[in-house]
Amino acid sequence: MRLDDFPKLFTKLHGAMPVWHGSVDAKDLRALCEQVLHGGGKLLALWGEDCSDISPDVQGTTREAGYALHVALVTAPGLLVLTLPVDQNKPAFPDLSDLFPAADRMQRNIADMLGLHPAEGGDHRKWTRHASWPGNAHPLRKSFDINATHATEMDAYQFVPVTGNGVHEIAVGPVHAGIIEVGHFHFSVIGEKVLRLEERFGYKHKGIEKRFEGMSLEQGAKLAGRISGDTTVAYAWAYALAVESVTHTTAPLRAQWLRAMFLELERLLNHLGDLGYLGNDAALGFGFAQFWILKEDLLRMNSELFGHRYLMDRIVPGGVSVDIDSATHTRIFETLQHIASTVSTLKNIYDEHAGVQDRFITTGRVTPDLAAQLGLTGLAGRASGQAWDLRAQFPCAPYDQLEVLMATHRNGDVAARVTVRFEEITESIRLIRAILEKLPQGESRCAIGEVQSVHPGIGWVEGWRGEVLIALHTGSDNLIHRLHAHDPSWQNWPVLEHAVIGNIVPDFPLINKSFNLSYSGVDL
């Protein structure tokens, strides 16, 4: 199968984003993945589904096999979602981790959660599962009862051993020293220098994807907004797009513009917070105080105007749950004006502060070549020459009328990730102003109908951290059969392991913060 043919061979899904879906066999899956890779494309997400409870006549031959593996690939024309039927008597699929290193943990997650394994090759250690359910039970199988508790076993996990004269290990976590999510970092060091970092996550696994099963399309929105609290807007938007795709709904134009404003406000909140902490981690407490005043100003504005500090539940399937009037515009303009001028002052202070720059420059470097090879994405990718930004490449409304300027740098160090954040703050402020100036009149919410499509619903949004994907598979009863949420942290966590090599242990918090990846978003 040739990649060039897919817009003809596969079905284009309803919605503003260019997404195609089709079924393939194992040979074609590998062939298409290879072509995507060599054509400069990348793997976005990988997830599995238990289809054994769906009657085959509902959704065709894919369902007869019992299981399905779904692969989302980013290509020049758009997103290609491939479905590989997997025989329940032989639950195996072709290993993709040799093509896309980021596939490794996703495959291990599928093995834990659904019991499908790469046929050959790949890392076969568990990933998401610790000790709360046995290795032969798989939560995403339909036979698995969400409420059943299981006898816990010993959580034996084999870290890759690093040996040699003078090598010692530092184990950190799951409970960390700061106000931060939980995960385990296993350092092998010589003196102060990091030889190797190995991450172990899954501590926050709270059964989100299983919880989605059987929910109505309306119910799912609230849970989608709580997959990763700092990315609630992007997830809510992606979920809404997925629902609108399967129900063939189009949200009113005004709602689409307001959604983009919320997304840019979320980007501002996170970038302001991170820049404060990056100053703090480089011993400039002044930076923390200043940026967090600005963040709090914005949070209070959100609360006052939109009813929630982090804009949770403001984006819903069919539109937005809150609208604004013209008096609101002035309030937003004033707040943004204050933030823009203060950030400009603070940028000069950061740029000219020798101590801060000494910590930022060359620290935690990911070269563009390494970033491309490992699939580094989002904000961190853009700091390492990976020029991907959905808002610029596949602009849906309103981005198609705003000409988003993508921030890209090539140094790939902490300083580059700081610079990308500064530039994206400027751009987000410009975008919000432009949105308010051109905001269309009309309704801001419409009703969503019944499921119209046999294809999955896909929501694909450039969140502040990177690309967020929601893949929604509905059953024949208008309920959620399977929902997969993909966070860009899946791609970027493994790259952090490389970014710290050769750096000193005390720089790890700074490097980690410069990526600021999600634990909840990958543990699910």
Binding site: D145, G178, I179, H205, K206, G207, S228, G229, D230, L346
Partner: protein, 170 residues
């Protein structure tokens, strides 16, 4: 340096008055000696433990450190180890994968100690509920002194929960 001082002077003092304790947030009778509470109420060391949250509550806990809430100005600070802590501030439904770590953190905290559960999830598991992967609220794993509902609760509400836990029950 001149630019930094100029910006500090230009910003001025942003700190606001703290809220009062609220009896409605108490979850159990506190048995801790009033004298000790009087003491720790003025120099409280808090260890935050994320037991499985969505990270929303953490965002609001971070805000407590910003100049508006200025929690350190009240003598309350966050510490890096449970060994240094008077209080655990626990977020999230307790995931089963964090059950052991949370118990160990509790055990590592010296007596007398207080626990404040933060958020709807910390209260009863919230939207994530109880399941094969979630134990539900914090109280299902360790004893809790005060609960702060909300999704996420505002910094003022969290501060109020902290002050409620350390204030003597009348």
């Amino acid at each position: 340096m001149y630019q930094i001082i100029k910006q500090i002077l230009h910003t001025g003092i942003k700190s606001e008055k703290p809220p009062q304790p609220d009896d409605a947030l108490r979850s159990q009778v506190q048995e801790i000696n009033a004298q000790i509470l009087k003491y720790v109420g003025r120099a409280l060391a808090i260890r935050h433990v994320d037991a499985g949250s969505c990270n929303g509550c953490e965002l609001e806990i971070h805000c407590l450190n910003n100049p508006y809430y200025n929690i350190e100005g009240m003598g309350i600070h966050f510490v890096a180890s449970p060994r240094h802590a008077d209080m655990l501030l626990v977020t999230g439904p307790v995931s089963r994968h964090m059950e052991v770590a949370l118990k160990r953190t509790f055990d590592a905290t010296p007596d007398p100690k207080l626990v404040v559960a933060v958020g709807d999830c910390g209260r009863d598991g919230g939207i994530f509920g109880t399941s094969y992967a979630s134990c539900g609220g914090v109280t299902s794993v360790i004893p809790v002194d005060a609960v702060v509902p909300g999704c996420p609760p505002t910094p003022v509400a969290i501060l109020q929960g902290i002050l409620t836990a350390v204030s003597r029950r009348v």
